[in-house]
């Protein structure tokens, strides 16, 4: 199901030894993995397992105590842990995307849908109002929002629409990598299914790589190529999604999987 880019040789993101402590408590410890172009990596675990801390460290929102996050983008390999904040912010609005669980954290609630979608374009120099608007309309349609609502504010949207708007706002710049933190959390089951469908299509069409954090195994089953299972800040098991879910080796993964089956 993955569309690997044959032009790219080697991983797009190489994570090694990422560790983050909160005082004596471990946030996440010694996490390493490679992410390939077009690949979706799922990170699962209970709350407190360290998956959100790890996502924060990977995306530059938290500063890890140790480790490297090497990004191989348009400008060649760079360690995003040590890069200048200005460069990291630029990366954050061009080649990277971040989808928050709560759309309010990822949207400007006082700005129209069009302004929300257009912000990344304007932040990187777009100065043609008409073209910005056309692009915004196009993206609203791609995330299944009526283009006539371009001048409405997100507060007038339902939760599912807000989440789709957040996705459009992030993907408009054509990023290569998306970080997603429980993107379907807090939504009704039927809304979740529609959003997952949409995400799967977008990831495939855009050849997007993604790191997806969730506690919901159904979400990773649908979206993720590979899976890491975290417990107490450490990765206890990793592998191809189907393999890990159908034949869990670690006792904790077995518990996770079986608890899902009981639901």
């Amino acid at each position: 199901m993955t569309a690997f880019d044959p032009q790219m040789t080697g991983p797009i993101l190489s994570v090694s030894g990422i560790t983050k402590r909160y005082g004596a408590r471990i946030g996440c410890a010694d996490v390493s993995f490679d992410l390939w172009p077009g690949e979706v990596m799922g990170i699962v675990g209970e709350s407190g397992s360290g998956k959100s801390t790890l996502l924060g460290c990977l995306s530059g929102q938290l500063e890890p105590d140790a480790g490297q996050v090497v990004w191989r983008g348009a400008n060649g390999p760079v360690d995003t842990v040590t890069m200048a904040e200005a460069d990291r912010r630029l990366l954050g609005r061009t080649e990277w995307a971040f989808v928050h669980q709560n759309p309010r954290d990822g949207l400007r609630m006082g700005v129209s849908a069009g302004g929300n979608v257009g912000e990344r374009l304007m932040a990187t120099g777009a100065r043609d109002y008409g073209r910005i608007r056309d692009t915004a309309e196009d993206w609203l349609q791609r995330v299944e929002i009526d283009a006539r609502r371009i001048d409405d504010r997100p507060s007038q949207f339902s939760g599912g629409m807000q989440q789709r708007l957040q996705i459009a706002r992030n993907l408009v710049s054509g990023p290569k990598l998306a970080f997603m933190d429980e993107p379907t959390g807090g939504l009704d089951v039927s809304v979740q299914a529609r959003l997952l469908d949409l995400l799967r299509g977008l990831v495939r069409d855009m050849g997007l790589s993604a790191v997806l954090v969730t506690h919901d195994l159904a979400v990773v089953r649908l979206l993720a190529d590979r899976l890491m299972v975290m417990k107490d800040g450490r990765v206890v098991e990793s592998g191809l999604t189907d393999q890990v879910l159908d034949d869990p080796q670690h006792g904790y993964t077995q518990l996770l999987v079986s608890s899902v089956l009981q639901v």
Partner: protein, 280 residues
């Protein structure tokens, strides 16, 4: 007559030196807001204390000072500030734009083009162009440091989306020397083009907010806009009822109870000179 109880131009020399350092830093980094330890002045914050401190640090005994507010030399606060410097620095004053070496202004740039021998000092109430988008100083300083100005453009986008045009008529944001986005002080956007490539030194003082910034001579100042919604330096589409000028900024004056009105130049010096010239 100088009031002997105070130092020349009121401020002590140490304070003036501190302000001059801030001015020089501002000139070296055009459009960057330099924090400075603004002093408490004997006039209220918000009434030009920043401009007064910059003027005080700039004045020499042989300077000729012009003070204008809303384009006029005779508005009450302009009178008050001019009196202050007459009293504390006993400098010569003038109402003539051409005859002044230092011009302190509130809300206008004179119509008469400025020269290399002149310093224009603006009074600034809110120096941060993004203050009403982002109230936190810690965050706006970061935005400036990283030149992360997308939010500013979003504000203009929202204006066009809602009103069909950029609905900012004064304090219209500009980009200085291709780097910092700057608040030009609450001048009407009609005056914005006069800032660019101007031969005079332009200094901006915000006393309450403790910031000084500057535009050096012959610096490019660009009003933010969109390619397909370009900046327009608009004004009332009339001619001055006194001097007949068709290209100066106009005040609208209500002349009677029946809604009668007329338009006259906001720059009283410019208008008077034209009226005299026409009569002669």
């Amino acid at each position: 007559m100088t009031d002997q109880a105070y130092n020349f131009a009121y401020l002590d020399e140490d304070t003036k030196r501190m302000i001059r350092r801030a001015i020089l830093k501002g000139l070296a980094v055009p459009g960057y807001q330099v924090p400075f330890a603004s002093r408490e002045m004997p006039m209220p914050y918000g009434w030009g204390t920043g401009g007064v401190q910059v003027t005080a640090a700039t004045l020499r005994p042989d300077d000729v000072l012009k003070v204008l507010d809303q384009g006029a030399d005779d508005t009450t606060n302009a009178v008050s500030i001019r009196k202050f410097f007459q009293r504390t620095a006993s400098v010569a004053t003038t109402e003539s734009t051409g005859g002044a070496t230092v011009i302190q202004t509130r809300h206008r740039i004179p119509e008469t083009p400025l020269t290399e021998d002149q310093i224009l000092v603006y009074q600034v109430p809110i120096p941060e162009p993004m203050r009403f988008l982002e109230p936190r100083e810690t965050e706006t300083r970061r935005i400036h440091a990283l030149a992360d100005y997308g939010l500013m453009q979003v504000r203009l986008y929202e204006d066009i989306a809602r009103h069909g045009e950029i609905a900012t008529s004064y304090a219209y944001p500009v980009e200085v020397a291709g780097r910092y986005v700057m608040d030009p002080s609450p001048i009407p956007k009609f005056d914005n083009p006069k800032m660019s490539d101007c031969p005079a030194i332009q200094l901006f003082g915000a006393g309450r907010e403790q910031r000084i910034y500057a535009v050096p001579p012959y610096t490019q100042v660009v009003s933010l806009d969109f390619d397909d919604h370009p900046f327009v330096a608009s004004k009332a589409e009339h001619e001055c009822a006194i001097c007949g000028s068709g290209d100066s900024y106009l005040d609208e004056v209500i002349t009677d109870d029946a809604g009668g009105r007329m338009f006259v130049c906001s720059d009283t010096d410019y208008c008077a000179r034209r009226a005299e010239g026409g009569a002669a």
